[in-house]
């Protein structure tokens, strides 16, 4: 019996979303009174034993460089084999891009019920009930997993990473992955930017900024805060900003600590993608803008005047 936490990585490093999953999985193992173990497919440059500080006792690795590229089919088979080999009764993923590709496959393979998009630890007082977001963040569902093996995929930014002391043992698993049917032919990363779904702070612009030429003052604010950039749908549709910045019900869903919305009216479809943010700040010249109803802090005023001042004040405290 154990909780097995899938450790996702890129460019030789464990992803932040997986550190959340590790902390979550370790806390869950404590709740269930079982061991917490990690599983890493492929190779990383960092020291795997150090992952023990997130509360796991062992890291299982299938150290095969072919696994540094994702083929969901190959991954799912290897993860299912590892789960069986380690006697896992719960498997935890991050509900990030990799988790979305793989967790469902493992679920079907092992006939293990999956709750995708979990936001907190399960209630095990009566069954195994996991809370997840539904209706694009407008509500939650409490879902009972009824199968013997259970899979949880944890929404990024919904569980606080805690690091303590401790080292994990590293255990090599002798699993031979299948040949990949998916070949990676190119990777295009926007360099130097904070990935939107991993960001603690998101700065977002809407049609109120009038045109792409005005984004400089918003980017200045973003840089001052080390924030990721986002935008409303019409802004991406008009190609003022790239598609991957579009947040909302039909775009990316984010849950940062701080979401700053500038010149965005706050349509219900936009709110659906951002309303799990811990703190929302709205800057809009229209006091009647619906976004103010969903905000924690707001300024009614002209973005073009406020943004430079805001950046300046933030630089002061960031020193």
């Amino acid at each position: 019996m154990s909780v097995l936490i899938f450790i996702d990585h890129a460019d030789g490093h464990v992803k932040k979303a997986s550190l959340e999953a590790l902390t979550y999985g370790a806390d869950l193992a404590k709740q269930l009174g079982v061991a917490a173990e990690g599983l890493l497919l492929g190779t990383v440059t960092e020291d795997l034993a150090a992952l023990g500080k997130y509360g796991i006792s062992k890291v299982n690795q299938v150290s095969n460089e072919a696994l540094n590229n994702l083929d969901a089919q190959v991954y799912a088979k290897a993860i299912a084999e590892a789960a069986t080999a380690t006697g896992a009764t719960v498997i935890v993923f991050s509900h990030n891009q990799t988790g979305k590709a793989v967790a469902a496959r493992v679920s079907a393979r092992l006939k293990a019920g999956l709750v995708a998009g979990a936001i907190s630890l399960p209630d095990t007082s009566n069954g195994f009930v996991v809370k997840k977001t539904v209706f694009s963040g407008k509500a939650f569902a409490n879902v009972n997993i009824t199968s013997p093996i259970k899979i949880i995929s944890l929404n990024p930014n919904s569980y606080k990473i805690t690091a303590g002391e401790g080292a994990a043992t590293v255990n090599q698993l002798s699993i031979t992955p299948d040949a990949a049917k998916v070949k990676v032919t190119a990777v295009n990363k926007v360099s130097g930017e904070v990935p939107l779904t991993e960001a603690e702070i998101v700065v977002s612009g809407g049609r109120g900024l009038k045109g792409p030429e005005n984004w400089g003052i918003l980017e200045d604010l973003g840089h001052a805060l080390h924030a990721a950039m986002a935008c409303s749908r019409p802004v991406a549709d008009a190609h003022w900003r790239p598609h991957h910045e579009h947040v909302g019900q039909t775009g990316v869903q984010v849950a940062p600590n701080l979401y700053i919305a500038v010149g965005i009216s706050g349509a219900i479809q936009h709110l659906a993608g951002v309303n799990r943010s811990k703190v929302i700040v709205v800057i809009n010249k229209d006091p009647e803008a619906p976004f103010f109803k969903a905000a924690d802090y707001g300024i009614v005023g002209d973005a073009f005047e406020i943004l430079p001042k805001l950046t300046e004040e933030i630089k002061k405290i960031k020193g």
Binding site: A104, A139, V190, I201, L225, A295
Partner: protein
């Protein structure tokens, strides 16, 4: 070449979200139903575009749902495609739904199965992956571009902070999102044609659900916005720093 597109019925994006029967069920009173936007705008439209380029492609769509899902399927057929299949079952267990779709997909011998990246009501992003596993086929999720080249496809998919280009052997399952295609509006000819396109109803295969929804809840209401005057931006920064402690 045969393509199967999975479509699902979801509440309109402006629907008021409320629950009934002691928070056990979604309250659909007055709710308008639409085709899940990811299924319609991206998966279905891309499949239609592929068929427009290559008339030998057969395009079917499949939904798991009761008879009340039929208006949605007719709307999907009005956009294009040859035939729709409704699997007569109602469930919100992803594995149950995926097993139904996989059974139809196996029978039909499809080369390509498209889904939307997720439904906007249940947000599982699970059906594509499960169907792929049940078909023992490769799966590329969160596609932002899709091109067919004979027996393989070139798919661009979202990764953290960027995109990755994949070459995948068919048959394959692909989940689609923004970028794959542009939303279309059905025209009168399409709507007329849809009335006579076949809509087959098949009974579900026996599968045990692996999960069940116990209850729903709404997020706690916000306390209300604290407004800071426009000429005192420093005060906002102080509040974010000292009160909210987010910067």
């Amino acid at each position: 070449m045969k393509i199967l597109v999975c479509v699902s019925k979801t509440p309109d994006t402006t629907s008021k979200i409320a629950f009934k029967d002691g928070n056990a069920k979604f309250d659909d009173a007055g709710v308008q139903w639409i085709i899940n936007p990811y299924d319609e705008w991206y998966a279905l439209v891309r499949a239609i575009e592929l068929k427009e380029k290559n008339a030998s492609i057969t395009l079917h769509m499949v939904t798991v749902g009761g008879a009340d899902a039929e208006p949605i399927i007719r709307k999907a057929l009005a956009l294009g495609g040859d035939e729709a299949i409704r699997i007569n079952a109602d469930s919100n267990d992803s594995f149950y739904i995926a097993s139904q779709i996989a059974a139809v997909a196996k029978d039909g011998g499809y080369d390509l199965v498209f889904t939307g990246k997720e439904t906007i009501d249940y947000n599982g992003s699970s059906i594509g992956g499960m169907v792929a596993e049940l078909l023992d086929a490769p799966y590329v999720s969160l596609a932002t571009k899709f091109e067919l080249n004979g027996t393989t496809a070139t798919v661009t998919r979202e990764i953290e902070g960027g995109e990755e280009v994949n070459e995948v052997a068919l048959p394959a399952v692909v989940s689609c999102q923004k970028g794959v295609a542009e939303q279309r509006i059905p025209n009168m000819r399409g709507i007329m044609a849809a009335r006579t396109k076949p809509l087959k109803v098949v009974e579900p295969v026996a599968v045990d659900a692996l999960t069940s929804v116990v209850s729903f809840e709404l997020p706690p209401a916000k306390a209300g916005v604290k407004l800071v005057p426009a000429d005192n931006v420093a005060e906002l920064v102080r509040l974010l720093h000292e009160e909210a402690k987010v910067i």
